[in-house]
Amino acid sequence: MIQVHDYHKAYRDTVAVAGLSFGVEAGQVLGLVGPNGAGKTTTLRAIAGIIPPTRGRLVVAGHDVAVDPVAAKRRFAYIPDDPKLFESLTVTEHLAFVATAYEVAEHASKASRLLEQFELTEKKNALIQELSRGMRQKVAICCGYLHDPSAILFDEPLTGLDPHAIRTLKQTIVERARAGAAVIISSHLLSLVEDLCTHLLILQRGRALFCGPIGQARALYAGHQADASLEEVFFRATDRAAAPEALAASGPAETLEVRP
């Protein structure tokens, strides 16, 4: 559903992402993890068609994001970190706008269900500027879900959410993946990734340290410890990569590609 081939992104002399390749199939949930500045958001924004890649190919649902961005964008939803919404528009107006943009049939009933699911029904006529950070996040998620996307890109989705909303969001992610959506979750919350994700992509300094099923990551980085936490896996992976001998061995723009 989501295919990234040899993705490079450079800003003048700074290489944000170097030669990244991975894929997420329908029904898979990929956890995108890495230290600050690893290139996670840059990767998500490139898949979302907001920033063009310096090199490489990004494909969503068979549509190249650079060649046919509109067709690709129809198929996915991108929920950014701290989503900005139109301050003076109401929640309902946001959903009506998104429904028109994505040509969603019978959007009123869908919107109503989503608002109920995320406990926003009472706020449907409230202006965005009147909502708390968490409620805005919920509105952004509802907007993202409204057109039943085939691929969903989350950037730190839990920020500001209350426990109820966190549980609801987790449930919906699992449900949508089961229904055939490909999901990418970029987060520093390794417990969230551990709970939800079937696959893992560890990025560091714009390079992939690992990409594959979570079990494979455990086998690779935690030896035979089947119950090793993701946190342990993450630290071992990043510490190993940060070691001078590992960096020297990795060479320029080399990418470890592990296909599921």
Partner: protein
Amino acid sequence: MKSLSLPPALRLLLVYQMRARLRKLARAAKTVKGALALCVLFGMVLFMLGSAVIASFVVPRSAIAIGPTFISPALLAFCVLAVITTGPESGIFFFPAEVDLLFPAPFHRRQLLLYRLSGLGIGVLLVSLYFSVFLLFVARYWFFGFFGCLLALIFIQLLPMTLALVLSIVGARAYSRGRKLALAGFFVLAALAAGQAVGNRSAGGIVAFVAQVRSSGVGTSLLAPFDVFSRTIGAESFFPAFVGWGTLALAIDAVLVGLILRLDADFLESSVTASQRLYARIERARRGQLWSNLSAPSAARWRIPVLPRWAGAGPIAWRHFVTALRGSRGMLILVAMLAGGMLLPVLFLERDELTAVAAMVGGLAPYICFFILPQLLQFDFRGDLDGMDLLKTLPLPPLAVAAGELATPVVVATAMELPLALIAAVAWADWRLFVAALAIIPALNLMVFAIENLAFLWFPYRMQALGGADFQSFGRQMLIMFVKFGVVLFGAGAAAAVGGLAWWLAGQSWTAFGLAAWLVLALIGLSLIPLVALAFKNFDPGLDKAE
């Protein structure tokens, strides 16, 4: 071509946004302070429009030659500025919500451009309607002024967009080379035109000088594309003048729109960067740090020794002093721009005009001191809106916090105004003027900034982030300005009365007058500090920040 039509969703969004602005106005009118602010604003606008309409009947059109003379050079200057300021970091501005919601949505780039252009068009239409009333002076018919103004403003909006797209396509290096060549050519031609005008200069001051530049061979060629707009406004007949010039102006804008839509550059990334940068600037301006947008803050090596504690006022004031010092470069640039804008015409003025301008600058001085500077120097509670929680948690008495918050703007404003007093003292060869200013200016500034902070703490208001004019904020600013003038007038009146009494009692002693007047002003200013402290004590960040 489907991508060249505005999709229903973007049309809907434009309608929602217009409706949202009306709703915001209606909501504001429901609260007492909001209604008051709007009443003041609309009263002022009606007064200005009414004055313009009446004056257009009273003042003969032939007496107002300045309008058409300056429109084309102003447009040319804007054009040059746009070329200079367009750089690798330029881009077409989209609001943060548009970046987050529209960029990942299924719209073509051209559709997004069309949406941006439509939004700009609606804004420009409203602004042109307003300004067209003031063009009644120079336009034979209202519609001529409106149409010419509309097309000129559209040109102003389209040019930077076109340049940003051209830059995206040709690349920063090629653009920079082309820009250097174009600017060098322009400055050579401008120097030639100015040289010709100086050579032919006759009496008549700045208007005559600009007219000479316009009529010189080089000046005529340089200004020809921009004359189209001013000639549309000042057309003497519907046909052929207005129709001819109007069609040409329309064609210029149409070419720019066509270019923007046809270039089809991948502007999304540069727009994201440019929008983030502009948004950050707007946020800084909202926090009262407009000056910080003109220059990066100076390095941390610019330091001030920590002030003594002074019951807690010291550290509060010190923090603002450090911010002021590190932003001083930006502040100086802003003040230089203001002063330059006011003084530049003086270079070209005749003697009688100079007297008129001196009177105008003198008249503007209170406006600058009591309105511009207080807006500029928000090193007080107004600049601390986001830090109110922290201020509230400090183990300091409110009076100390209030005194500390007021210290920096009073000192900085005084430091900016005293050189003017020194110039006046030298010009009039009377040192007592400077001594009087040295005593009175800090007291007056204390009054002014105390009122600003009182108004802010009683009726906190955060300028809206983006999107549309913030009418409520404008109205509120005007209201505060009236209150400030009222209090300053009251203070000055009381000081003059007490000073007069002292003058009479002391046997017509001007020293007694000055001392008594200063004492009254200082007492009024100092008496406002406990009021500010009380307002701070009662300030509820939880309630007021969300507005």
